[in-house]
Symmetry: C2
Protein backbone atom coordinates (compact mmCIF):
# COMPACT_ATOMS: atom_id res chain seq x y z
CA UNK A 1 0.00 0.00 0.00
CA UNK A 2 1.34 3.41 -1.00
CA UNK A 3 0.65 6.18 1.50
CA UNK A 4 1.10 9.81 0.51
CA UNK A 5 1.58 12.08 3.52
CA UNK A 6 -0.38 15.27 4.00
CA UNK A 7 2.69 17.48 3.86
CA UNK A 8 3.24 16.52 0.21
CA UNK A 9 0.85 19.02 -1.35
CA UNK A 10 0.22 21.20 -4.38
CA UNK A 11 -1.88 24.33 -4.84
CA UNK A 12 -2.32 23.94 -8.58
CA UNK A 13 -2.70 21.17 -11.15
CA UNK A 14 0.16 21.39 -13.61
CA UNK A 15 2.53 19.23 -15.67
CA UNK A 16 5.48 21.18 -14.26
CA UNK A 17 5.48 19.18 -10.99
CA UNK A 18 7.84 16.23 -10.66
CA UNK A 19 6.04 13.44 -8.81
CA UNK A 20 7.80 11.88 -5.86
CA UNK A 21 5.25 9.02 -5.66
CA UNK A 22 4.51 6.50 -8.36
CA UNK A 23 1.82 3.80 -8.68
CA UNK A 24 0.58 1.27 -11.18
CA UNK A 25 -2.94 0.44 -12.37
CA UNK A 26 -4.44 -1.94 -9.79
CA UNK A 27 -2.58 -0.31 -6.91
CA UNK A 28 -4.27 0.96 -3.79
CA UNK A 29 -3.12 4.33 -2.47
CA UNK A 30 -3.93 6.27 0.66
CA UNK A 31 -3.92 10.04 0.32
CA UNK A 32 -3.62 11.83 3.65
CA UNK A 33 -5.24 15.24 3.27
CA UNK A 34 -5.34 18.60 5.00
CA UNK A 35 -8.61 20.47 5.26
CA UNK A 36 -9.46 23.18 2.70
CA UNK A 37 -8.13 25.87 5.03
CA UNK A 38 -4.77 24.12 5.29
CA UNK A 39 -5.43 23.43 8.96
CA UNK A 40 -5.05 27.12 9.81
CA UNK A 41 -8.31 27.49 11.71
CA UNK A 42 -7.76 25.92 15.09
CA UNK A 43 -10.39 27.77 17.07
CA UNK A 44 -13.41 29.99 16.47
CA UNK A 45 -11.60 33.02 17.82
CA UNK A 46 -9.15 33.13 14.92
CA UNK A 47 -9.42 36.29 12.88
CA UNK A 48 -10.08 35.39 9.25
CA UNK A 49 -7.97 38.42 8.35
CA UNK A 50 -4.95 36.58 9.76
CA UNK A 51 -5.40 33.56 7.48
CA UNK A 52 -2.76 33.05 4.80
CA UNK A 53 -5.04 32.69 1.76
CA UNK A 54 -2.15 31.37 -0.34
CA UNK A 55 -2.30 28.25 1.82
CA UNK A 56 -5.91 27.25 1.21
CA UNK A 57 -7.17 24.39 -0.97
CA UNK A 58 -4.11 22.16 -0.69
CA UNK A 59 -4.34 18.86 -2.62
CA UNK A 60 -2.15 15.90 -1.71
CA UNK A 61 0.06 14.77 -4.58
CA UNK A 62 0.82 14.62 -7.38
CA UNK A 63 1.00 10.88 -7.94
CA UNK A 64 2.54 9.56 -11.16
CA UNK A 65 0.56 6.65 -12.64
CA UNK A 66 2.71 4.28 -14.67
CA UNK A 67 1.44 3.78 -18.19
CA UNK A 68 -0.93 6.75 -18.20
CA UNK A 69 -0.62 8.70 -21.43
CA UNK A 70 -2.51 11.59 -23.01
CA UNK A 71 -5.78 10.25 -24.45
CA UNK A 72 -6.27 7.64 -21.72
CA UNK A 73 -8.73 7.61 -18.83
CA UNK A 74 -7.56 7.41 -15.24
CA UNK A 75 -10.14 5.51 -13.17
CA UNK A 76 -10.08 6.28 -9.46
CA UNK A 77 -12.30 4.18 -7.26
CA UNK A 78 -12.91 5.72 -3.84
CA UNK A 79 -12.74 2.75 -1.50
CA UNK A 80 -12.99 4.54 1.83
CA UNK A 81 -12.85 7.97 3.41
CA UNK A 82 -11.93 8.66 7.01
CA UNK A 83 -12.44 12.13 8.40
CA UNK A 84 -11.22 13.95 11.50
CA UNK A 85 -13.44 14.39 14.55
CA UNK A 86 -13.70 18.12 14.12
CA UNK A 87 -14.62 20.22 11.12
CA UNK A 88 -14.61 23.89 10.32
CA UNK A 89 -17.22 25.91 8.44
CA UNK A 90 -16.77 29.54 7.53
CA UNK A 91 -18.63 32.47 6.05
CA UNK A 92 -16.89 35.49 4.56
CA UNK A 93 -18.65 38.59 3.18
CA UNK A 94 -18.47 38.69 -0.60
CA UNK A 95 -18.44 34.88 -0.90
CA UNK A 96 -21.04 32.17 -1.34
CA UNK A 97 -24.48 32.18 -2.94
CA UNK A 98 -25.47 35.31 -0.99
CA UNK A 99 -22.28 37.22 -1.81
CA UNK A 100 -23.94 40.65 -1.60
CA UNK A 101 -25.47 40.36 1.86
CA UNK A 102 -24.04 42.28 4.75
CA UNK A 103 -22.77 39.94 7.47
CA UNK A 104 -19.71 39.21 9.59
CA UNK A 105 -16.81 36.87 8.85
CA UNK A 106 -17.09 33.87 11.08
CA UNK A 107 -15.46 30.47 11.54
CA UNK A 108 -17.23 27.67 13.35
CA UNK A 109 -15.72 24.50 14.73
CA UNK A 110 -18.05 21.49 14.80
CA UNK A 111 -17.63 18.13 16.45
CA UNK A 112 -18.07 14.91 14.52
CA UNK A 113 -18.76 11.75 16.47
CA UNK A 114 -20.19 8.35 15.55
CA UNK A 115 -21.20 9.52 12.10
CA UNK A 116 -23.01 12.59 13.39
CA UNK A 117 -22.01 16.25 13.10
CA UNK A 118 -23.32 18.52 15.85
CA UNK A 119 -24.28 22.03 14.72
CA UNK A 120 -25.69 24.14 17.58
CA UNK A 121 -27.23 21.01 19.04
CA UNK A 122 -28.71 19.93 15.68
CA UNK A 123 -27.62 16.44 14.60
CA UNK A 124 -26.61 16.08 10.97
CA UNK A 125 -25.72 12.69 9.52
CA UNK A 126 -22.18 12.66 8.18
CA UNK A 127 -21.52 11.59 4.58
CA UNK A 128 -17.81 12.04 3.87
CA UNK A 129 -16.91 13.08 0.33
CA UNK A 130 -13.97 14.31 -1.70
CA UNK A 131 -14.04 17.97 -2.77
CA UNK A 132 -10.90 18.08 -4.93
CA UNK A 133 -9.72 15.33 -7.27
CA UNK A 134 -7.94 15.99 -10.52
CA UNK A 135 -5.05 15.50 -12.89
CA UNK A 136 -2.60 17.84 -14.59
CA UNK A 137 -4.11 19.75 -17.53
CA UNK A 138 -2.55 19.95 -20.99
CA UNK A 139 -1.11 23.42 -20.33
CA UNK A 140 -0.66 25.94 -17.57
CA UNK A 141 -1.32 25.91 -13.84
CA UNK A 142 -4.91 25.55 -12.69
CA UNK A 143 -5.41 26.48 -9.02
CA UNK A 144 -6.73 23.64 -6.83
CA UNK A 145 -9.60 25.93 -5.77
CA UNK A 146 -11.35 25.71 -9.13
CA UNK A 147 -12.56 22.99 -11.52
CA UNK A 148 -12.45 22.17 -15.21
CA UNK A 149 -11.93 19.39 -17.74
CA UNK A 150 -9.13 18.05 -15.52
CA UNK A 151 -11.43 17.71 -12.49
CA UNK A 152 -10.20 19.78 -9.55
CA UNK A 153 -12.43 21.40 -6.94
CA UNK A 154 -15.64 19.82 -8.22
CA UNK A 155 -17.39 19.70 -4.82
CA UNK A 156 -19.83 17.00 -5.91
CA UNK A 157 -21.61 15.26 -3.09
CA UNK A 158 -21.66 11.99 -5.09
CA UNK A 159 -17.90 11.67 -4.50
CA UNK A 160 -18.22 9.42 -1.47
CA UNK A 161 -16.98 5.89 -0.77
CA UNK A 162 -17.99 3.49 -3.52
CA UNK A 163 -17.96 6.09 -6.29
CA UNK A 164 -15.64 5.75 -9.25
CA UNK A 165 -14.19 8.80 -11.03
CA UNK A 166 -13.16 8.76 -14.69
CA UNK A 167 -10.63 11.51 -15.41
CA UNK A 168 -9.28 12.36 -18.87
CA UNK A 169 -5.48 12.06 -18.96
CA UNK A 170 -3.62 15.00 -20.53
CA UNK A 171 0.02 14.36 -19.55
CA UNK A 172 2.25 11.36 -19.05
CA UNK A 173 1.67 9.83 -15.61
CA UNK A 174 -1.62 11.75 -15.22
CA UNK A 175 -0.33 13.46 -12.01
CA UNK A 176 -3.28 12.76 -9.73
CA UNK A 177 -3.92 14.81 -6.60
CA UNK A 178 -6.73 14.62 -4.01
CA UNK A 179 -7.79 16.90 -1.17
CA UNK A 180 -10.53 18.98 0.45
CA UNK A 181 -12.61 16.36 2.25
CA UNK A 182 -16.08 17.31 3.47
CA UNK A 183 -17.80 15.50 6.34
CA UNK A 184 -21.10 16.65 4.87
CA UNK A 185 -22.16 18.96 2.03
CA UNK A 186 -25.50 19.58 0.34
CA UNK A 187 -25.97 20.21 -3.40
CA UNK A 188 -25.02 23.86 -3.90
CA UNK A 189 -22.55 24.33 -1.02
CA UNK A 190 -24.31 27.65 -0.47
CA UNK A 191 -22.14 29.42 2.12
CA UNK A 192 -18.90 28.63 0.15
CA UNK A 193 -17.60 26.11 2.69
CA UNK A 194 -18.87 22.66 3.65
CA UNK A 195 -17.93 20.88 6.89
CA UNK A 196 -14.22 21.07 6.03
CA UNK A 197 -12.14 18.24 7.49
CA UNK A 198 -8.75 16.63 7.27
CA UNK A 199 -8.60 12.88 6.81
CA UNK A 200 -7.53 10.13 4.49
CA UNK A 201 -8.89 8.63 1.32
CA UNK A 202 -8.10 5.15 0.06
CA UNK A 203 -8.40 4.73 -3.67
CA UNK A 204 -7.80 2.01 -6.21
CA UNK A 205 -6.45 2.98 -9.62
CA UNK A 206 -7.19 1.70 -13.06
CA UNK A 207 -6.49 2.87 -16.62
CA UNK A 208 -8.52 2.76 -19.80
CA UNK A 209 -6.15 3.08 -22.74
CA UNK A 210 -6.76 5.22 -25.82
CA UNK A 211 -10.15 6.69 -24.93
CA UNK A 212 -11.22 9.40 -22.52
CA UNK A 213 -14.33 11.35 -21.50
CA UNK A 214 -14.85 15.00 -22.48
CA UNK A 215 -15.55 15.94 -18.85
CA UNK A 216 -14.86 14.11 -15.59
CA UNK A 217 -17.44 11.38 -15.01
CA UNK A 218 -18.57 9.95 -11.67
CA UNK A 219 -20.05 6.47 -11.50
CA UNK A 220 -22.38 5.59 -8.61
CA UNK A 221 -24.20 2.28 -8.14
CA UNK A 222 -26.97 3.31 -10.55
CA UNK A 223 -25.82 6.35 -12.52
CA UNK A 224 -23.12 8.04 -14.54
CA UNK A 225 -22.77 11.75 -13.81
CA UNK A 226 -21.00 14.06 -16.27
CA UNK A 227 -19.42 16.97 -14.37
CA UNK A 228 -19.47 20.30 -16.20
CA UNK A 229 -18.70 23.89 -15.27
CA UNK A 230 -19.28 27.46 -16.41
CA UNK A 231 -18.90 31.10 -15.50
CA UNK A 232 -22.59 30.87 -14.59
CA UNK A 233 -25.02 28.01 -14.08
CA UNK A 234 -26.60 28.48 -17.49
CA UNK A 235 -23.27 27.87 -19.20
CA UNK A 236 -22.61 24.82 -17.02
CA UNK A 237 -26.08 23.42 -17.82
CA UNK A 238 -25.59 24.06 -21.53
CA UNK A 239 -22.40 21.98 -21.46
CA UNK A 240 -24.06 19.23 -19.45
CA UNK A 241 -27.04 19.10 -21.81
CA UNK A 242 -24.85 19.07 -24.90
CA UNK A 243 -22.73 16.21 -23.60
CA UNK A 244 -25.74 14.22 -22.33
CA UNK A 245 -27.46 14.45 -25.71
CA UNK A 246 -24.23 13.41 -27.42
CA UNK A 247 -23.94 10.38 -25.12
CA UNK A 248 -27.56 9.32 -25.68
CA UNK A 249 -27.18 9.76 -29.40
CA UNK A 250 -24.25 7.32 -29.35
CA UNK A 251 -25.93 4.92 -26.94
CA UNK A 252 -29.15 4.65 -28.93
CA UNK A 253 -27.50 5.12 -32.30
CA UNK A 254 -30.00 7.80 -33.10
CA UNK A 255 -30.03 11.40 -34.36
CA UNK A 256 -29.93 14.61 -32.39
CA UNK A 257 -33.70 15.11 -32.28
CA UNK A 258 -34.48 11.73 -30.69
CA UNK A 259 -31.60 11.99 -28.22
CA UNK A 260 -32.72 15.50 -27.25
CA UNK A 261 -36.26 14.23 -26.60
CA UNK A 262 -35.02 11.31 -24.56
CA UNK A 263 -32.80 13.59 -22.45
CA UNK A 264 -35.93 15.38 -21.21
CA UNK A 265 -37.20 12.10 -19.77
CA UNK A 266 -34.13 10.46 -18.25
CA UNK A 267 -31.26 12.95 -17.75
CA UNK A 268 -31.38 14.73 -14.39
CA UNK A 269 -29.55 18.04 -14.36
CA UNK A 270 -28.28 18.58 -10.82
CA UNK A 271 -26.35 21.34 -9.08
CA UNK A 272 -22.94 20.60 -7.52
CA UNK A 273 -21.90 24.02 -6.25
CA UNK A 274 -22.71 27.63 -7.04
CA UNK A 275 -19.87 29.24 -5.11
CA UNK A 276 -16.47 28.32 -6.55
CA UNK A 277 -14.61 30.35 -9.23
CA UNK A 278 -16.59 28.45 -11.85
CA UNK A 279 -20.01 27.01 -11.03
CA UNK A 280 -20.65 23.31 -11.44
CA UNK A 281 -23.51 21.03 -12.43
CA UNK A 282 -23.86 17.42 -13.43
CA UNK A 283 -25.94 15.47 -15.94
CA UNK A 284 -26.99 12.20 -14.29
CA UNK A 285 -27.88 9.37 -16.64
CA UNK A 286 -29.14 6.04 -15.25
CA UNK A 287 -26.88 3.11 -16.08
CA UNK A 288 -29.90 1.28 -17.40
CA UNK A 289 -29.67 3.37 -20.59
CA UNK A 290 -25.93 3.70 -21.29
CA UNK A 291 -22.56 1.98 -20.87
CA UNK A 292 -19.27 3.65 -19.93
CA UNK A 293 -18.16 3.19 -23.58
CA UNK A 294 -20.72 5.79 -24.60
CA UNK A 295 -18.96 8.41 -22.48
CA UNK A 296 -15.45 7.78 -23.84
CA UNK A 297 -14.03 9.14 -27.08
CA UNK A 298 -10.97 8.15 -29.12
Amino acid sequence: MIRIPRDYIIYSFSRRYTARYRARPGDRIVFETLDALGGQIIDEGVSLESIDWSRVNPATGPLYVEGAEPGDTLVVEIESIEVSDRGVILVVPGFGALYDKSFRSRAKIVEIRNGVLLFNGVEIGVRPMVGVIGVAPEDGDIPTGTSGYHGGNMDVKLLSAGARVYLPVFVEGALLAIGDLHAVQADGELCVAAAEVSGEVQVKLDLIKGRRPRYPVIETPDRYAVITFGVDLDEAVYRASEEAVSILSRALNTGFEEAYMLSSLIVDIRVNQVVDPVKGVRAEIPKKFIRIDHLLYP
Copy 2:
Protein backbone atom coordinates in the same frame (compact mmCIF):
# COMPACT_ATOMS: atom_id res chain seq x y z
CA MET B 1 -66.83 14.63 -5.46
CA ILE B 2 -66.48 17.68 -7.70
CA ARG B 3 -65.27 16.93 -11.22
CA ILE B 4 -64.03 19.73 -13.45
CA PRO B 5 -64.18 18.79 -17.13
CA ARG B 6 -61.25 19.30 -19.47
CA ASP B 7 -63.11 21.75 -21.67
CA TYR B 8 -63.26 24.25 -18.81
CA ILE B 9 -59.84 25.79 -19.26
CA ILE B 10 -57.83 28.97 -18.94
CA TYR B 11 -54.60 30.11 -20.61
CA SER B 12 -53.63 32.59 -17.93
CA PHE B 13 -53.86 32.96 -14.16
CA SER B 14 -55.87 36.10 -13.36
CA ARG B 15 -58.44 37.48 -10.92
CA ARG B 16 -60.59 38.55 -13.87
CA TYR B 17 -62.02 35.05 -14.36
CA THR B 18 -65.35 34.20 -12.77
CA ALA B 19 -65.21 30.65 -11.45
CA ARG B 20 -67.98 28.27 -12.43
CA TYR B 21 -66.85 25.63 -9.88
CA ARG B 22 -66.64 26.12 -6.13
CA ALA B 23 -65.25 23.92 -3.36
CA ARG B 24 -64.63 24.05 0.38
CA PRO B 25 -61.59 23.13 2.45
CA GLY B 26 -61.66 19.36 2.96
CA ASP B 27 -63.26 18.72 -0.44
CA ARG B 28 -61.86 16.34 -2.99
CA ILE B 29 -61.83 17.52 -6.59
CA VAL B 30 -60.96 15.81 -9.84
CA PHE B 31 -59.40 18.02 -12.52
CA GLU B 32 -59.63 16.49 -15.99
CA THR B 33 -56.76 17.91 -18.02
CA LEU B 34 -55.69 18.30 -21.64
CA ASP B 35 -52.07 17.76 -22.56
CA ALA B 36 -49.74 20.77 -22.88
CA LEU B 37 -50.33 20.92 -26.62
CA GLY B 38 -54.07 21.13 -26.12
CA GLY B 39 -54.49 17.71 -27.74
CA GLN B 40 -53.54 19.12 -31.12
CA ILE B 41 -50.84 16.59 -31.94
CA ILE B 42 -52.62 13.44 -32.96
CA ASP B 43 -49.92 11.84 -35.08
CA GLU B 44 -46.22 12.24 -35.78
CA GLY B 45 -46.90 13.49 -39.28
CA VAL B 46 -48.49 16.71 -38.06
CA SER B 47 -46.59 19.78 -39.16
CA LEU B 48 -45.66 21.83 -36.11
CA GLU B 49 -46.16 24.92 -38.27
CA SER B 50 -49.88 24.07 -38.35
CA ILE B 51 -50.22 24.09 -34.55
CA ASP B 52 -52.27 26.89 -33.02
CA TRP B 53 -49.76 28.13 -30.42
CA SER B 54 -52.45 30.19 -28.68
CA ARG B 55 -54.01 26.88 -27.62
CA VAL B 56 -51.03 25.42 -25.77
CA ASN B 57 -50.59 25.11 -21.99
CA PRO B 58 -54.28 24.94 -21.07
CA ALA B 59 -54.98 24.63 -17.33
CA THR B 60 -58.29 23.28 -16.07
CA GLY B 61 -60.14 25.75 -13.88
CA PRO B 62 -60.34 28.10 -12.19
CA LEU B 63 -61.86 26.68 -9.03
CA TYR B 64 -63.13 29.06 -6.34
CA VAL B 65 -62.20 27.90 -2.83
CA GLU B 66 -64.68 29.09 -0.19
CA GLY B 67 -63.04 31.00 2.62
CA ALA B 68 -59.73 31.59 0.84
CA GLU B 69 -58.60 35.19 1.29
CA PRO B 70 -55.44 37.14 0.44
CA GLY B 71 -52.76 36.27 2.98
CA ASP B 72 -53.89 32.64 3.39
CA THR B 73 -52.26 29.45 2.13
CA LEU B 74 -54.10 27.07 -0.16
CA VAL B 75 -52.94 23.52 0.51
CA VAL B 76 -53.42 21.11 -2.38
CA GLU B 77 -52.70 17.47 -1.70
CA ILE B 78 -52.21 15.43 -4.86
CA GLU B 79 -54.00 12.17 -4.08
CA SER B 80 -53.74 10.47 -7.44
CA ILE B 81 -52.81 11.09 -11.07
CA GLU B 82 -54.09 9.06 -14.00
CA VAL B 83 -52.54 9.58 -17.39
CA SER B 84 -53.52 8.64 -20.94
CA ASP B 85 -51.97 5.66 -22.71
CA ARG B 86 -50.17 7.81 -25.23
CA GLY B 87 -47.94 10.82 -24.79
CA VAL B 88 -46.34 13.31 -27.10
CA ILE B 89 -42.84 14.76 -26.97
CA LEU B 90 -41.63 17.49 -29.27
CA VAL B 91 -38.52 19.41 -30.20
CA VAL B 92 -38.60 22.77 -31.93
CA PRO B 93 -35.52 24.73 -33.07
CA GLY B 94 -34.91 27.74 -30.86
CA PHE B 95 -36.37 26.02 -27.79
CA GLY B 96 -35.01 23.93 -24.95
CA ALA B 97 -31.61 23.80 -23.28
CA LEU B 98 -29.87 23.53 -26.67
CA TYR B 99 -31.81 26.40 -28.24
CA ASP B 100 -29.02 27.37 -30.65
CA LYS B 101 -28.43 23.97 -32.26
CA SER B 102 -29.53 23.32 -35.80
CA PHE B 103 -32.14 20.54 -35.94
CA ARG B 104 -35.58 19.75 -37.32
CA SER B 105 -38.97 20.25 -35.66
CA ARG B 106 -40.34 16.90 -34.68
CA ALA B 107 -43.22 15.44 -32.69
CA LYS B 108 -43.10 11.91 -31.33
CA ILE B 109 -45.99 9.84 -30.06
CA VAL B 110 -45.08 7.32 -27.36
CA GLU B 111 -47.11 4.49 -25.89
CA ILE B 112 -47.59 4.14 -22.16
CA ARG B 113 -48.59 0.75 -20.83
CA ASN B 114 -48.47 -0.84 -17.37
CA GLY B 115 -46.44 1.97 -15.95
CA VAL B 116 -43.86 1.87 -18.71
CA LEU B 117 -43.25 4.34 -21.52
CA LEU B 118 -41.73 2.92 -24.68
CA PHE B 119 -39.27 5.21 -26.46
CA ASN B 120 -37.73 3.56 -29.56
CA GLY B 121 -37.86 0.24 -27.75
CA VAL B 122 -36.31 1.64 -24.57
CA GLU B 123 -38.45 1.10 -21.48
CA ILE B 124 -38.77 4.08 -19.17
CA GLY B 125 -40.62 3.78 -15.87
CA VAL B 126 -43.54 6.19 -15.72
CA ARG B 127 -43.85 8.65 -12.83
CA PRO B 128 -46.88 10.87 -13.46
CA MET B 129 -46.58 14.46 -12.26
CA VAL B 130 -48.34 17.79 -12.52
CA GLY B 131 -46.61 20.48 -14.63
CA VAL B 132 -48.96 23.41 -14.00
CA ILE B 133 -50.63 24.24 -10.70
CA GLY B 134 -51.33 27.76 -9.55
CA VAL B 135 -53.66 30.45 -8.29
CA ALA B 136 -54.58 33.92 -9.51
CA PRO B 137 -51.89 36.54 -8.86
CA GLU B 138 -52.51 39.89 -7.19
CA ASP B 139 -52.59 41.72 -10.52
CA GLY B 140 -52.56 41.10 -14.23
CA ASP B 141 -52.72 37.99 -16.38
CA ILE B 142 -49.85 35.51 -16.09
CA PRO B 143 -49.76 33.01 -18.97
CA THR B 144 -50.13 29.36 -17.89
CA GLY B 145 -46.86 28.60 -19.72
CA THR B 146 -44.71 30.35 -17.15
CA SER B 147 -44.22 30.31 -13.36
CA GLY B 148 -43.91 32.75 -10.47
CA TYR B 149 -44.96 33.45 -6.90
CA HIS B 150 -48.45 32.17 -7.81
CA GLY B 151 -47.12 28.77 -8.96
CA GLY B 152 -48.00 28.09 -12.59
CA ASN B 153 -45.87 26.06 -14.99
CA MET B 154 -43.35 24.95 -12.37
CA ASP B 155 -42.51 21.61 -14.02
CA VAL B 156 -41.16 20.09 -10.81
CA LYS B 157 -40.81 16.34 -10.85
CA LEU B 158 -41.66 16.16 -7.13
CA LEU B 159 -45.29 17.04 -8.01
CA SER B 160 -46.48 13.44 -8.09
CA ALA B 161 -49.11 11.57 -6.08
CA GLY B 162 -48.62 12.04 -2.36
CA ALA B 163 -47.07 15.50 -2.64
CA ARG B 164 -48.69 18.49 -1.01
CA VAL B 165 -48.43 21.99 -2.52
CA TYR B 166 -48.65 25.17 -0.44
CA LEU B 167 -49.69 28.13 -2.59
CA PRO B 168 -49.90 31.72 -1.37
CA VAL B 169 -53.42 33.14 -1.84
CA PHE B 170 -53.62 36.58 -3.49
CA VAL B 171 -57.32 36.93 -4.33
CA GLU B 172 -60.62 35.87 -2.79
CA GLY B 173 -61.37 32.25 -3.63
CA ALA B 174 -57.73 31.65 -4.67
CA LEU B 175 -58.84 30.58 -8.21
CA LEU B 176 -56.93 27.32 -8.50
CA ALA B 177 -56.17 25.73 -11.87
CA ILE B 178 -54.24 22.58 -12.76
CA GLY B 179 -52.96 21.16 -16.05
CA ASP B 180 -49.99 19.92 -18.08
CA LEU B 181 -49.52 16.37 -16.79
CA HIS B 182 -46.27 14.56 -17.58
CA ALA B 183 -46.01 10.78 -17.63
CA VAL B 184 -42.30 11.21 -16.93
CA GLN B 185 -39.87 14.13 -16.74
CA ALA B 186 -36.31 14.42 -15.50
CA ASP B 187 -34.89 17.41 -13.58
CA GLY B 188 -34.21 20.04 -16.24
CA GLU B 189 -36.82 19.07 -18.88
CA LEU B 190 -34.04 19.65 -21.38
CA CYS B 191 -35.79 19.46 -24.75
CA VAL B 192 -38.61 21.83 -23.58
CA ALA B 193 -41.28 19.09 -23.50
CA ALA B 194 -41.70 16.10 -21.22
CA ALA B 195 -43.88 13.07 -22.03
CA GLU B 196 -46.97 15.28 -22.39
CA VAL B 197 -50.22 13.54 -21.55
CA SER B 198 -53.88 14.22 -20.86
CA GLY B 199 -55.39 12.69 -17.75
CA GLU B 200 -56.96 13.46 -14.43
CA VAL B 201 -55.70 14.57 -11.07
CA GLN B 202 -57.54 14.05 -7.80
CA VAL B 203 -56.68 16.57 -5.11
CA LYS B 204 -57.81 17.33 -1.60
CA LEU B 205 -57.95 20.96 -0.50
CA ASP B 206 -57.12 22.63 2.74
CA LEU B 207 -56.57 26.22 3.91
CA ILE B 208 -54.17 27.79 6.36
CA LYS B 209 -55.59 31.13 7.47
CA GLY B 210 -53.60 34.33 7.85
CA ARG B 211 -50.15 33.07 6.86
CA ARG B 212 -48.60 32.22 3.53
CA PRO B 213 -45.24 31.21 2.02
CA ARG B 214 -43.15 33.64 -0.05
CA TYR B 215 -42.86 31.08 -2.85
CA PRO B 216 -44.84 27.94 -3.62
CA VAL B 217 -43.71 25.07 -1.38
CA ILE B 218 -43.92 21.35 -2.13
CA GLU B 219 -43.99 18.84 0.70
CA THR B 220 -42.83 15.28 0.06
CA PRO B 221 -42.60 12.49 2.65
CA ASP B 222 -39.24 13.76 3.89
CA ARG B 223 -38.67 17.29 2.57
CA TYR B 224 -40.03 20.77 2.00
CA ALA B 225 -39.03 22.25 -1.35
CA VAL B 226 -39.21 26.01 -1.95
CA ILE B 227 -39.86 26.68 -5.64
CA THR B 228 -38.14 29.75 -7.05
CA PHE B 229 -37.61 31.21 -10.51
CA GLY B 230 -35.45 33.68 -12.40
CA VAL B 231 -34.56 35.01 -15.81
CA ASP B 232 -31.51 32.76 -15.46
CA LEU B 233 -30.55 29.93 -13.13
CA ASP B 234 -28.27 32.15 -11.07
CA GLU B 235 -31.17 34.45 -10.20
CA ALA B 236 -33.39 31.48 -9.35
CA VAL B 237 -30.66 30.00 -7.12
CA TYR B 238 -30.13 33.35 -5.40
CA ARG B 239 -33.81 33.49 -4.50
CA ALA B 240 -33.81 29.87 -3.32
CA SER B 241 -30.72 30.44 -1.16
CA GLU B 242 -32.08 33.64 0.34
CA GLU B 243 -35.37 32.02 1.29
CA ALA B 244 -33.71 28.83 2.61
CA VAL B 245 -31.40 30.85 4.86
CA SER B 246 -34.37 32.91 6.08
CA ILE B 247 -36.28 29.70 6.91
CA LEU B 248 -33.33 28.15 8.77
CA SER B 249 -32.76 31.37 10.66
CA ARG B 250 -36.38 31.23 11.91
CA ALA B 251 -36.30 27.49 12.58
CA LEU B 252 -33.11 27.59 14.64
CA ASN B 253 -33.73 31.05 16.04
CA THR B 254 -30.27 32.05 14.98
CA GLY B 255 -28.58 34.85 13.05
CA PHE B 256 -27.78 35.06 9.35
CA GLU B 257 -24.23 33.74 9.66
CA GLU B 258 -25.18 30.49 11.41
CA ALA B 259 -28.14 29.87 9.10
CA TYR B 260 -25.96 30.50 6.05
CA MET B 261 -23.40 27.96 7.32
CA LEU B 262 -26.08 25.39 8.04
CA SER B 263 -27.59 25.82 4.56
CA SER B 264 -24.32 24.57 3.05
CA LEU B 265 -24.75 21.29 4.92
CA ILE B 266 -28.47 20.49 4.63
CA VAL B 267 -30.15 22.53 1.84
CA ASP B 268 -30.03 20.83 -1.55
CA ILE B 269 -30.35 23.23 -4.47
CA ARG B 270 -31.99 21.32 -7.31
CA VAL B 271 -32.98 22.18 -10.87
CA ASN B 272 -36.63 21.94 -11.94
CA GLN B 273 -36.48 23.14 -15.54
CA VAL B 274 -34.17 25.29 -17.63
CA VAL B 275 -36.47 25.76 -20.62
CA ASP B 276 -39.60 27.72 -19.70
CA PRO B 277 -39.93 31.54 -19.97
CA VAL B 278 -38.38 31.78 -16.51
CA LYS B 279 -36.04 29.07 -15.23
CA GLY B 280 -36.86 27.22 -12.04
CA VAL B 281 -34.98 25.67 -9.14
CA ARG B 282 -35.88 24.44 -5.67
CA ALA B 283 -34.30 24.54 -2.24
CA GLU B 284 -34.97 21.18 -0.57
CA ILE B 285 -34.81 21.16 3.23
CA PRO B 286 -35.27 17.89 5.15
CA LYS B 287 -38.30 17.91 7.45
CA LYS B 288 -36.05 16.79 10.24
CA PHE B 289 -34.80 20.38 10.59
CA ILE B 290 -37.90 22.56 10.04
CA ARG B 291 -41.67 22.67 10.41
CA ILE B 292 -44.15 24.11 7.88
CA ASP B 293 -44.61 27.09 10.27
CA HIS B 294 -41.09 28.20 9.45
CA LEU B 295 -42.06 28.62 5.79
CA LEU B 296 -45.18 30.72 6.40
CA TYR B 297 -45.27 34.46 7.10
CA PRO B 298 -48.01 36.70 8.49
